[in-house]
Symmetry: C4
Subunit: 239 residues, 4 copies
């Protein structure tokens, strides 16, 4: 049975509205950091409302819409099976064609509050060779705690992309996976954290690519990677 | 005999005016996506008015004019033999030096409603080696349904560029051809669709180039390419 | 004896003022096309006033000034021996440290009306190997009529850079020379034409570099280069 | 004992306020020149007030704050042991996680008035191979007087990064060091000079990288490097 937005408790409706604004704003970061062209790429964020309505929801970009037209009102609200809810707008746009993958990740990794998908150039270039990005930069150790792993080749249309993401990331420190021949998916505690991971995975994919063009990379010892990752997760930024 | 705009039926005159605005606006996408420098590159769109005036027309950029000065009024209206019509402006600018190629494509491929030409960097780099871009990305399979083909070397000045484009694309899924030593031409259902193809061909040319710099690419099986192409043409976006 | 601007005929003073505006505006094109960083790079334009004051003048950028501060008033007026004239401003800025090279070119190549110098990345990369850019693109044949030649290594401080430019370009179709280990200098009929050459030389240096990274380039036959160059010089743009 | 801003002499308080504005403005140069992504990178500038309060201070970016939010008020004032002073703002942000490295440089190299750290792509790419950038461009000879040296691998958290920078640069003409597997640190007479060095080190790292992709670089003789460096330090710009 389709959920109707108007039937939900007032505080959940408010969270839906607030999350639409957040997700619309986060989409502006994708072209800003040159991670997407045309209408490619998408950001979603979970609404943790299972305690009140028996299930979580998430907000995601509509399919095939230009980045200039991504207002909060255009964002689509979905259940964790990837179906859009009835939000009272009769001509509600269809959600992103990657919605099923986002939904699968939220359903199977409870810690995930945000998901981002792009075809950013250097990350996708590693994906087209099926080769993980080795951890040779302190900023990679900080941010990802090791290499960026490769996920399986998977066709769109069922849950195989979602399963590939979850299988690859569930026991990993990395918040990014490079799906083979496809491109990066990133996860985070919320949409903003997943967008940061999308920015950083392209940055490290580019820098390591360029470095390796001219010779051998110097690896960082595992104990030092561990030390950097631990410190960054616990000391960096404002607490 | 030269066609005079003022003699055409009112609805055709209106379509000419609307198409001039569309084509002027689409030119702004070329520098936005960094596909062109200086005055290079051009977009055109067909006006389907053969039912009313016995032939179609198309609107194209004037030759050698800066992207800052491409107002709707500056756009040139041509017949399908590549000659500008008399639109009542005595000092009407000359159309793009690539007008003959656009005209030939419209004349010989009825399904084409828009044509774009650029010298975008990575697409042109494949063209200078005369090497097609292999289909190793799901977004290539989605958008082009296979590799991006190479067209013949052809000199400007007669219909040899147009013929090369038509010969290469007439039986292809690809909406882009890389003319050898020259650069990409793309086609679409209208000008916007051809601009999208120009953006996407540069994106895939860049990503595949960068990927192959560091090793072997993983091919995608033909059956999977077919599946992706079919789905994207029929499911993606808003219907 | 120093020339005083206030002593010159009124029409020459007007040309000086107009040229200062042109040269200031042209400097904005250098960062726009990403040819320069910080305060690097410079544009100059000749004032053809020998018929009236016995010698030509030229206007050039001041040395070490930020691109944000390049107003017409900041531009420096020089004689063809590279000395600034007395323009009535007591604290007149020093001209670009490359002024002697510009002056030498104007003095020895009468057809030149504009000179540009940058350290644009790909053009400078060819210069650091001392290797000319081969003519494998139709846009190179159009614009430069053949390869982009290398000039000698030359130290700043006397006329050796100017001599290197003139020796390399005086019998060449190319409007660009890559000075070894240094970077490109371009010439034109006026400042704008030289800026266009600076934009185009970087564009072709980049595209040919990227093409050659993955394999052999396809040369264009000399007769076809000749045909393209001739046509572009005589047919392209508005007459 | 913590220093209180309100207890300092009026002229030192004024210098603190002025330096906060300078350092905030200089941070805008880092994204402008594409040296940083997200919240990475930092600029600091020394306040020479040891004659009045017995020690110098410096102003630096807060940790993990977006470049859009770097107002003068957000900047953090520190003593040369890397501790923030009490500036009367109870919820004062924590200084950059690289503050200890900046502090160590100011403490041990009195000539240094500004420090910048980025992970700019090409400079970091050389650092990941532990390979100095050879001096093959006249602009490198001008600006750095020789190659860009590599500093040791060092973990964040104690003074080992600061020591690595000081050991590498104390007897060098270069104002930039590439810390292995990490990225560039640059120094200057003030913050702006260090930012210029950060811009220029990325520019030369990129150009030399690209040049070497296609073949052997032509070295510049040491005597000519000396001549260029001497001239640039003494003649370039406005005196």
């Amino acid at each position: 049975m389709t959920i109707r937005l108007a039937d939900l408790p007032a505080d959940v409706q408010e969270e839906v509205a607030a999350t639409r604004t957040i997700v619309a704003d986060l989409h502006a970061e994708l072209p800003r950091w040159e991670l997407v062209v045309w209408t490619a790429g998408n950001v979603s964020q979970r609404i943790r409302c299972a305690d009140r309505i028996g299930q979580d929801l998430f907000v995601i970009k509509p399919s095939g819409v230009s980045y200039d037209q991504l207002s909060p009102e255009a964002m689509v609200v979905c259940t964790l099976d990837g179906k859009k809810i009835d939000d009272g707008t009769p001509d509600r746009l269809q959600p992103s064609s990657d919605t099923a993958a986002h939904a699968y990740v939220y359903e199977h990794l409870d810690r995930v509050g945000g998901v981002v998908h792009t075809h950013s150039t250097y990350a996708t270039a590693w994906a087209a060779r099926g080769e993980e990005v080795p951890c040779v930069l302190t900023m990679m150790a900080d941010e990802f705690g090791g290499p960026i792993p490769i996920g399986p080749f998977a066709l769109i249309g069922d849950d195989s992309i979602g399963r590939g993401i979850v299988e690859t990331l569930k026991d990993s420190r990395s918040r990014a996976v490079l799906m083979q021949n496809h491109g990066p998916f990133t996860i985070g505690t919320d949409g903003r954290d997943a967008v940061k991971a999308a920015v950083m995975v392209e940055e490290v994919a580019r820098t390591v690519h360029i470095s390796r063009q001219l010779g051998e990379l110097i690896p960082i010892e595992q104990s030092k990677i561990d030390s950097l990752f631990d410190r960054y997760q616990n000391v960096y930024g404002q607490k």
